[in-house]
Symmetry: C2
Subunit: 360 residues, 2 copies
Amino acid sequence: MSRTKSPPAKQKSAADGQSTKGPEGGRTSRRSSGSVTLEDVAKLAGVSPITVSRVLNRPELVTQETLDYVRSVIARTGYVPNLLAGGLASRKSRLVAAIVPTIANSMFAEGIETLTERLRAAGYQVLLGLSGFPTASEEQLIGAVLSRRPDAVFLTGITHSTQTRQRLLAAKIPVVETWDLTPTPIDMVVGFSHEKVGRTVAEYLWAKGYRRFGMVCADDTRALLRRRTFIEALAPYGITDVPTAIAGTPTSLKRGRDGLIELLSMTERPDAIVCSSDVLAHGVLTEARARGLSVPRDMAVMGFGDLEYAPYTIPALSTVRIDRRGIGQRAAEAMLARFNGEPVQQVVDVGFEIVEREST
Amino acid sequence: MSRTKSPPAKQKSAADGQSTKGPEGGRTSRRSSGSVTLEDVAKLAGVSPITVSRVLNRPELVTQETLDYVRSVIARTGYVPNLLAGGLASRKSRLVAAIVPTIANSMFAEGIETLTERLRAAGYQVLLGLSGFPTASEEQLIGAVLSRRPDAVFLTGITHSTQTRQRLLAAKIPVVETWDLTPTPIDMVVGFSHEKVGRTVAEYLWAKGYRRFGMVCADDTRALLRRRTFIEALAPYGITDVPTAIAGTPTSLKRGRDGLIELLSMTERPDAIVCSSDVLAHGVLTEARARGLSVPRDMAVMGFGDLEYAPYTIPALSTVRIDRRGIGQRAAEAMLARFNGEPVQQVVDVGFEIVEREST
DNA sequence: CCGATCGATGATAGCGTTATCATTCGACCC
DNA sequence: GGGTCGAATGATAACGCTATCATCGATCGG
């Protein structure tokens, strides 16, 4: 506890004698911002700037005494570190970019929430990029985002232009592709197999005895992929045609209702309707009710996602459970592991699960 | 068109003679990152760094000829500007922080989407902060966010701690509070009056002839505010008691169903149920159906928000329309106006509108 | 025909941090 | 008892960009 040097005594006087960045300090800089800098804190505390930096970032290297005193000065001055400067010097921005088509439906939003929260707890923040708007290509978005020098990138899907891949590769940072699976990710991938989902749903419904199928499917890469394997899996059973109403994106309850209307107008009533999302399924359920159709007696309905409300619709919606938050969490963990130089799994399959409720 | 100086000729040779940052260039820096910098581009193009900077940021100051050539070098080298460095030097981060409780329901998510998209088009990006997680106080979030030196901040709500207000004020940047209204914003506010919503809904339902009211209300500042004025507005009519089921946040269809169950267990069946969100209302509608209650004959249901599905539920949901995307848009516009030094309205009321459908 | 003006470009000096190496000083070991 | 080591702190020089002022011709009005 007893130390020769006594920082507190020293700076108290310094603190009193010199106000924060007045015009008195030698020559006035023509660019200074007026806000408190690390150097100001250092002067007031009577230590070198690097010590203040250590107090903030590597406190274990600093004496308890110095630590306490510098911290008190920081509190007193209301110093807010400048992470632009810190990031420039350390080449670590503590920023993670997340690129998703949309956050306006909980499909992706929950994963982003979990990602954001996990990363925040570790001192990172999330830069949001929306690729679903037609005005911004993923290409441009990547450029804008990389100029912030993020420490990692979260991507939705596995289909990216060659240029996008190259730029991400060139950035030499962890990249996590999500919501799908591939043996050849840019870097890492956290998702599940849409092909498998399609096949599993087909087998499930076939086993339940359904024979005439219809689909309400979003106009979306992954949804269409599930549709393809769903149909392929039924081929061996002699099913050659699965009438499909293509709903636009973003999916909505209305589009689900419209999808069923369209489907029923183009074909005899199927005995099972497979939807590419719970939202669409909810719409199908609603439209079925409006038409006096009983689900599942007249027609079964299958969703995808297992959103919050799936168990609470009438009838309760059978669906495919996806661990949406798990995707965000695994992605965050993979990034953090990489930051720490720990080994990571390149391909993480979060799987899925058929959830049978009342609608099938 | 004819110029004495011929940049193209000059640098072509330079480009060929000197590869990007090899070990040959004098003394090797001990910290260089290896990625292409603005200086590299400048050398290759045979111009000064500042000219390259101008090509990127103020192209109108540069000759077409120089512009074209420098751009070709940028493309050839795959140069990605470093906005950390740029932000540090220019004191403009081109970053906007958005703090919302959650993005997992479209209430806030759509506004954030619109904000993000509008700002992106103007060269700004959005840093996402989630205040809804109990592990992170808004206080801490503000600190983390301000250390990025954002050019503006988007906040949800108007209730913030004194310290939060002070720190935001001290940052001297545009701050837009949203989703509520106050005559004394930190800086600007874009929202609507919850008090007025409560009163308006009360008058509307009273005028429709409803007399026994119940509420399913989220445990949320603004929802509770609407509830208060709703009840106050009914007092003159002799209504002294409005049984309320308080639903937790985040709201969900399940919580709406549970809310109705709770409400019906605590009181005689009201003839109108007012819900603090469409999600809850949807749950109430669902539970009513499960109990064989006819809406609105046995019981009217009123929502809040006018989410996408409100017109498509059965019966179609009467609700209060809020221009959710408009809030994001106005906020973005206010920020951009401030960046350009244009005058802005401190208080923007986006209003609301009762939407009468079938459920009332 | 000359000073004023303007357009294009450049030199210099930061912006606020942290990486890296250096220094100091007491403890400790053989 | 002298050399070694390690803990704590500091000096210096980047990090990659832009603000600011300077420079250099060309243009132009009187």
